[in-house]
């Protein structure tokens, strides 16, 4: 089991943060293009899912999986979106993604007066805290890293 990569988008679709751990395949497009494609896909999935749903939804879209990876999605009421790609063996990640938001993003970005929201996160402290949090997850395998 492993974690491939993680994207954080703000409510306007700007990619605030990207990091990767065990990523085997790079997309054929530039990183900027990839963020836009990812955000666009999530945006469409959200509207797709809200139309498809037979009953009213609460949390909405949670995750999808293909034959090789699983994408976990978490959105805060303020529109911040955290997206994590893992392999197929990982189950519900909602708690973990919420933890990234509450104990890392809020602590080291929102409470940091030098970080402006709506702009890519430059803070080195945030980067290291996030990296050690992900590496400490029970399903992050050190062997693959």
């Amino acid at each position: 089991m492993t974690v491939h990569n993680l994207y954080i988008f703000d409510r306007n679709g700007v990619c605030l943060h990207y990091s990767e751990w065990n990523r085997k395949k790079q997309a054929s497009i530039s990183k900027e293009e990839e963020y836009k494609l990812m955000y666009g896909m999530l945006f469409s999935i959200r509207s797709f899912v809200s139309k498809m749903s037979p009953v009213d939804m609460k949390d909405g879209f949670l995750s999808f999986q293909t034959s090789k990876y699983k994408l976990h999605y978490y959105e805060t009421p303020t529109g911040l979106k955290i997206v994590m790609n893992t392999d197929l063996g990982v189950n519900n990640m909602r708690e973990t993604l919420h933890q990234i938001y509450s104990s890392i993003f809020v602590e080291y970005v929102v409470k940091n007066p030098l970080c402006s929201l709506n702009q890519p996160i430059q803070s080195e402290l945030f980067r290291t805290k996030l990296d050690s949090f992900i590496r400490g997850l029970p399903f992050f395998s050190a062997r693959a890293g």
């Binding site: 491939h4 997309a27 494609l37 797709f48 009213d56 879209f61 949670l62 999808f64 034959s67 090789k68």
Partner: protein, 219 residues
């Protein structure tokens, strides 16, 4: 547990078959006095709530009937315009029924091709080599399962998140498609499936899958 609906999408992204097997109704009927304490607006040829959630009426719910008379789009069955009727104080008190809007066949076509592209993007954004498109998509109210055949046809099943055995159901639907659509001499490839036997057998398969949760091996 339930299976909500089945979609078959051809390799170009066109919807060639759709079946709603079970749709839970969430409707609320309430009597209002003037002035109406909800904000309604016309969206996609429907009158929907845009502000003011209360008593089970949610933003996005459509007006389904007024005083027991059905509403089609912007007009009631007897030809009155909904918004105009509701803005006239002499028509009150009025009883309005709200509920989630049903998908029209146009919307279904649109959603099917939308899924077709999401499927492709899903495999393009993969961090691993050789990934397929979206096979399973999970939300808090339903799970969408998709099976793409080697020839590019996609079978999509929407089911309750706890419903088991959808993978074997998808293979079973493929089998039914091969048996009753492809082997039908009057069926032309990539075109909408209008085969009575396919209909019947699909409904049967859905019933079995709902009850048993799974098909035995080799069935």
């Amino acid at each position: 547990m339930a299976i909500f609906s089945v979609y078959v999408v051809n390799k170009a992204g066109g919807l060639i078959y759709q079946l709603d097997s079970y749709s839970p109704r969430s409707e609320t009927e309430k009597t209002f006095s003037f002035p109406l304490d909800l904000v309604l607006k016309v969206h996609d040829e429907r009158v929907v709530v845009s502000f003011g959630q209360r008593d089970g009426i949610r933003v996005g719910h459509a007006v389904l009937s007024i005083n027991g008379i059905d509403v089609n789009g912007k007009y009631t069955a007897d030809g009155k315009e909904v918004l105009e009727y509701l803005s006239n104080s002499s028509n009150y008190p009025v009883s309005i029924r709200f509920g989630r809007p049903r998908l029209t066949s146009n919307e279904k076509l649109m959603l099917a091709s939308m899924f077709h592209s999401l499927f492709a993007i899903g495999s393009q954004l993969s961090p691993e080599l050789g990934s397929s498109g979206i096979e399973m998509l999970e939300t808090d109210t339903f799970k969408l399962h998709c099976f793409q055949t080697l020839t590019g046809i996609k079978f999509v099943v929407l089911a309750d998140p706890r419903q088991a055995g959808i993978d074997s159901l998808l293979r079973k639907i493929y089998e039914l498609y091969s048996d009753f659509a492809l082997k039908n001499p009057f069926y032309s490839l990539e075109m909408p499936i209008r085969c009575e036997l396919f209909d019947q057998n699909l409904k049967l398969a859905l019933e079995v899958a709902e009850k048993a949760g799974t098909f035995g091996p080799g069935s």
